[in-house]
Amino acid sequence: MAYDTNFTGQKFKVVGTRPLRPDGLDKVTGRARYGADVSAPGQLVGRVLRSPHAHAKIVKIDTSKAEKLPGVKAVITSADLPDLTNGDAGMYDILVNCMARGKALYDGHAVAAVAAVDAATARKALKLINVEYKVLPHVTDVDEAVKPGAPVLHSKMFTDGVEPKPTKASNVAKRTEFGHGDVEQGFKEADVIVERSFKTEQTHQGYIEPHACLANLGSDGQGEMWVCTQGHFVYRNTCATLLGLDAAKLRVTASEIGGGFGGKTHVWAEPLALALSRKANRPVKLVMTRDEVFKASGPTSSTSIDVKIGATKDGRITAATATLRYQGGPFLGMWAELGAMTSYACYDLKNVKTVGYEVVVNRPKVAAYRAPSAPMAAFAVESVVDELAHKIGMDAVAFRIKNAAKEGTKSSYGPTYGPIGIGPTLEAAKNHPHMKAPLKKNQGRGMACGFWFNFGGQTSTSLNVTPDGSVNVSVGTIDVGGSRASMALIAAEELGVPYENVRCVVADTSSLGHNDMSDGSRVTFSSGMNTVIAARNAKKVLIQRAAKMWDIPEDAVTWEDGHAKPAGANAGNFPPLSLKEIAAAAANTGGPIAGHNEFVADGAGVSFATHICDVELDPETGATKIIRYTVIQDAGKAIHPSYVEGQYQGGAAQGIGWALNEEYVYGKDGRLQNAGYLDYRIPVCSDLPMIDTVILEIPNPNHPYGVRGVGETSIVPPLAAIANAVSNAAGVRMTHIPMSPPRILKALDDQAKAKAKAA
């Protein structure tokens, strides 16, 4: 990885401009192909039978009637998916989640699947499968699940991370702890302490495209899959493991992806589609319905969090603790752990301790959702930080600035920070006109900060110069929001060619080495850095070829503005050779010109944001309206600013939905009551104002252009910023997300009753 990290104040030619995205035309004309848009000759329709019970023993499954129905070509149950996970507990959980084994663990858990000649026949076949259940007691609430006497999901789950290890099974899968210093001593030094408990309900990523795949697997162990995914290599590896295939023999092509936000990082029904295809010996297309997406993909955790923070009168935090309980559905997750790590990442704290408990419940397996676990922790912590500032009589921004982490701060989760953006985003917030704008009656303003790690990961990229001098970049990371444009910008920047001469494609799993998923805000960081390196490797080849054409040593040639030039007067007097000219001669100078790189992209830059929000409250109904919203975030370096803004705005909008209306509602029977867009209320266009953005660029020293990830951090502050705004407007602290109108009205009523009682 030879590249210059001395980038500060770098001047770019095309990076930072806003060209048209290469996939734009296909997407505005309807010809972009998503998961469900591709068909194969002889294709069957796959459908999944799901448990109607939250928790039930599967006594017997009789598929004989379904198998006899004309047009049915394959029926599978867990018996068709033997356990090949070889002791890998995480992989085994994925297998169990794909198809219930002996026990259904949530409403919507797959129990059988069919492939038939058409959808109507498949639907009919599902009705002919007879499943005998023995219904078991269930638990869906995270606090209920940890109480003594709660129904226990797994008789062999003994809490990890507790010494001595418990001998009694429980729904607490694991305990983790982070922090440093002495919090007890810290609280003794505090003049004011605020302690509160919070709850957040479960939300879904809400991508508009349901999971869809076209699977084609033969009995010879070779297959292909077209699928909407955030990580086709990971899907390949997982499916190959679960089905006992050689990974190299399963070629996975990623479709255009209609949103993922973390929800398409796991396999759900894809292994079932492959198993059906293998059994029927025909291609199988399996598309989830919207209610299946809600019931049986991977929403985020519901949580319960206790926070305690102490500070001196002059505004210095002396100690901070948090206890976080996150449910992961029926399986061990790392969700409370991530919450415990991120809780206090914004602050420079002497004494801090966070404890996370991973809880299992009868809900779908939790998956990542944009900065997974951080928004809930930020909601709890930033609410208390706000309250503490009020109590001390300090401005909420000034209090945060005083306690903000900076370069050299030992973070609450361990590492010591390099150059970071929390201070600058807070200063920008302080000076933003939004902060000073007047508010009307029943309006409140709130602000909050957020943090996300960002991620690097395994990446493999190829850059090929074509004979006509145009350039192909093949990446293995899915384009979820315009990254092909960013890669083309980076290649153009490095090679000195016009953006229009570069085409970036997402290659299939047979064309590149393994790539991790498009998650952790890693694509522009890691595939971007890899594109830089691949281009620099290609430049080396271009220089070699020019040297050959001029018959001078390689080190006598340099690359400038898309041309090979003699390195100096001594090198000889040759007119510059363009990339196009060198490419045209390639056949005679050594063949195709390319640059490749594969690596683990270390050094992802941590990212911070500060959001400001104004909300108007109707005190008679508890209705709220977001009337102004500003996102300030450090991008490191914005490669394509329009799509950076888009990430800021999109994350804020998802956070607004989460804060105000989105939630999974379970009935007493443990069944999901609102598995559709009608009652799972994501924001509509008329719910939102324009979302203003401020892009700060505090370069990441570990990336040649200074790039940090930008995709996730924007969802971290909204819950807290809006809770602070609503609390300020209502005059009562809101501690339960979403702050739906019934919850706000109840808080107002309770407060009025308390006041009346006191008077």
Binding site: R18, L20, R21, D23, G24, L25, D26, K27, V28, T29, G30, R31, A32, R33, Y34, A36, D37, A119, A120, Q205, G206, Y207, I208, E209, P210, E256, I257, G258, G259, G260, F261, V287, T289, R290, V480, G481, G482, S642, Y643, E645, G646, Q649, G650, A652, A653, Q654, G676, Y677, L678, I682, P683, V684, C685, S686, L688, M690, I691
Partner: protein
Amino acid sequence: MAGVHVSTTVNGDPAEFVCDPDEPLLDVLRNRLGLTGAKEGCGTGDCGACSVTVDGELVCSCLVLGAEVEGRKIETIEGMADGDKLHPLQRKFIEHAALQCGICTPGFLIAARALLKKNANPTEEEIRFGLAGNLCRCTGYDKIVRAVQDAAREMRGA
């Protein structure tokens, strides 16, 4: 189940198909006519990704039966551009980065065109309520609204 034979017009071209009596127009377009530009985000009329027009009226094609469109004129995203000339809305969506994943984009474009046909100079609020039947999970709608405003301006010749 007896198939229903239907003759109709799609994007100006005559089209015939046989569909099930309870088959949504969306499934007909996607599975029988090969027009996959309209997307199924929900199948229950809540997301607008399957928006098309039937006799000029904006509808969710998941809430229309294929059997109903006998003799009607259907327009889909595939017919929005005039040959190689994009509709101003299509152009402005690309220019304003009004799409990220793009799955909602066909529905938004069809709905926005219907909106501007009724109201050539909508306010921001009218645009927002006019497009409230189309869900977008990526953009926060900001750039979509701006693209529609800009396209409306251009179409009015302002």
